[in-house]
């Protein structure tokens, strides 16, 4: 298509923690300075800044991106925040891509920050305000309930047991034990631990869910000519896609995320991928709940519908399996500071494809990976394909 080539040249992140002492601006700045340091660049070399951060209700700050601006390194620069709820973290690099690909800029800093802990006692209350103000909010719903409905739909459709799904949580939390920034890494966790954890909204139990988290991640994007000067190992953004379905989630078939498939088809087409199962070597699908990883692997067309649980049981998605999935430890293990969690997946692919993932490194010199996020009312899919 003759699109301008855009690469990730640097990445950095804060530790993911339950209650950060730093303000959101400070978290953003820590991630930004680490990302810049990783590619030996300075803010003067950054042409524009893209911010990703989920509901303002978490921080309790209106026009949150304006408040975060100088923490994100945007002082005196073109600065814009894109927003697709939980999908934001993987949308932000797509937005960064079009900033650079448009020809308006040669470099772009993409920053995702999330501080959920200011919402006391728990951010679930803030989530009440995402529901339709006339038809749903009066019922007092929360996210755990609607995701329990979705998990049930998925389990019923394919006759899955809790044990099949708990394997994802075990894999990711064990993977996260190797991630220096992780909040819930645990090398010894078992399926039994997940099945014995507190029931929140059946079939969702505490260890099926990712934790409330504070944290920030930043990456540096550069156009072809600049990227090759900055680093010998640029990781290219080969494909992007996003798709937002109707707000009427109650009318949707909850057992399959069609919107993820639509987003993936766009990203694969742009990347020239015809057979994703052969051409993708690492996947970082969005895993705020363990069943979501399975759901999304199917939406990404990496497994047939209903087949992802079996693949997981066979060990195919382990770090040393045929298709390593969430080698970072994902949201279940590293933590889920909403938008920052999505961008963490992009950073993980960057490190994995460069062979810099340390103890988490996937064997076999992987050349191409896909990251995906999801959000809103079980409604949006965002997909980025990266390759070296």
């Amino acid at each position: 298509m003759g699109l301008r080539r855009v690469a990730v040249v640097g990445a950095g992140m804060t530790k993911f923690v339950r209650r950060a002492q730093e303000t959101g601006r400070e978290l953003a700045w820590e991630a930004v300075s680490k990302a810049l340091e990783s590619c030996e660049m300075t803010l003067d070399q950054i042409d524009c800044v893209v911010m990703g951060t989920a509901p303002d209700a978490f921080d309790g700050v209106h026009m949150k991106s304006e408040w975060l601006a100088d923490g994100a390194g945007a002082w005196g620069k073109p600065y814009m925040r894109g927003y697709v709820g939980g999908g934001t973290g993987v949308f932000a690099p797509a937005q960064g891509w079009y900033h650079v690909a448009s020809g308006l800029f040669d470099t772009c800093l993409v920053v995702c920050e999330e501080k959920m802990s200011p919402t006391q006692p728990h951010p679930q209350a803030a989530f009440n305000s995402i529901f339709d103000n006339i038809t749903e909010r009066p019922l007092g719903p929360n996210l755990l309930w609607i995701f329990a409905i979705e998990m049930n739909a998925y389990m019923n459709r394919y006759g899955l047991k809790k044990e099949d799904i708990a394997l994802v949580s075990v894999k990711n939390k064990r993977n996260a034990a190797d991630h220096p920034a992780s909040l819930l890494g645990d090398p010894n966790i078992t399926v039994q631990d997940v099945l014995n954890s507190e029931v929140l909204a059946w079939p969702v139990q505490r260890l099926d869910v990712s934790p409330v988290t504070d944290g920030a991640v930043a990456i540096v994007l550069a156009a072809d000519s600049v990227a090759r000067r900055v680093t010998p190992k640029p990781i290219w953004i080969e494909g992007i896609g996003w798709c937002l379905d109707t707000a009427y989630w109650t009318n949707r078939d909850l057992s399959y995320p069609t919107y993820v498939e639509e987003a993936a088809r766009r990203a694969y087409a742009m990347a020239g991928i015809k057979e994703p199962r052969k051409e993708i070597h690492i996947a970082e699908p969005y895993d705020p709940f363990d069943y979501k990883e399975l759901h999304h692997l199917e939406g990404l067309m990496l497994f047939d519908k209903g087949q992802a649980p079996e693949a997981t049981a066979l060990g195919i998605t382990q770090r040393n399996g045929d298709l390593p999935v969430c080698p970072s430890g994902g949201l279940l293990g590293v933590g889920n500071p909403i938008a920052a969690a999505g961008l963490m997946k992009i950073a993980e692919l960057f490190w994995q494809l460069r062979g810099e993932a340390g103890k988490r490194q996937v064997p076999g010199n992987p050349r191409r990976g896909v990251a995906q996020a999801w959000g809103d009312l079980m409604q949006v899919g965002t997909v980025v394909v990266m390759g070296k």
Partner: protein, 383 residues
Amino acid sequence: MNRTVEIVGVGWSGFRTISPDLSYKEMIFEAATRAYTEAGIDPRNDVQGFVTAAEDYHEGTSIFDEYTPDQLGSALRPMHTITGDGLHALAAAYMKIASGLMDVVVVEAHSKASNILTLDHITAFAEDPTFERPLAINPIALAGLEMQMLLSAGRFTLEQCAQVVVKNKNNALANPAAAHGAAIGRKTVLESQVVASPLTRLMAAPHADGAIVMVLADSDTAKRLKGKPVRIRGIGWANDTPALDSRDWLHAQYARKSAEMAYRVAGIRHPRSEIDFAEVDDTFAYKELQHLEALQLAKPGEAGILTAQGATERDGELPVNPGGGCLGVGSLLDANGLARVLEVVLQLRGEAGARQLKNVKTGLAFTWRGVPTTSGAAVVLSN
């Protein structure tokens, strides 16, 4: 990459001081239907991407992008929100087309300001929670402080600020979409209630409800569509720091940098002679003057004098806010930027009716996100 991008269809609903009979979805649907009809497109088949500008706290809904697709016909399509001004969303659409990723993109922004009972309190939540909010500053007071500083620096006079209000509200009388047109004199403006000295009530833009939708396309695709295209020659946006203690209060750096970028992209070297008219943020009357100088359309200290001389009237040498601006149309919250662009488009097409300017070829639209932000965006359009 670097394809030419054009606005091929515009539609709006409103603008009205209150709209108890309509939901925001109904207003957006009306605006979208008009824009699609004008461009001759079907949103389900002819559009690759959609983008909307909205802020959660203005909507009273978290993750507001959930509620954006249905009324635009964009369910199960690439759609996202920009939590910025509508002009930022326009820039996002511009980039998607310029990059070659998409050919036709729809932009939407709206205001349901009348639903917000305590807007000042909402806006106060945009102040820094650690350093600023404990001072309990009403955001309007920040505008009063800035205006006082500019008055003290001799940049303009109170009379000149009042003249901005008189001009814009009078222009709005010729704009059927404007909600706050009025024939008033400077004395009325100066003697209206003081809201944050020296700012009086009539110097601050009242709010309005409405929705605006625009269809953008690359120039090749535009040829196949029905609408009368207006070319986006240059676009730019920028932030100063949000911190009250370290921003440049005098110079509106966000406006200066936004315009510098837009002029650079458009290849404009002498804005004063190359720009025929401008739609410039006037959320507060003094802001029009401060912004005109930052946009290089007037020299420092000159904007007030030009206004007093009538140079910024519809028949002056540099018409400013011929459609009435925020003071006359009403502030449309996150849709303000698109309202400025809408007027520039209608003027360039020669469809501005009773307020039509003569012989205009190039216009500038500039928007600011209001207190307490230092966020602005500018676009240069030509026919």
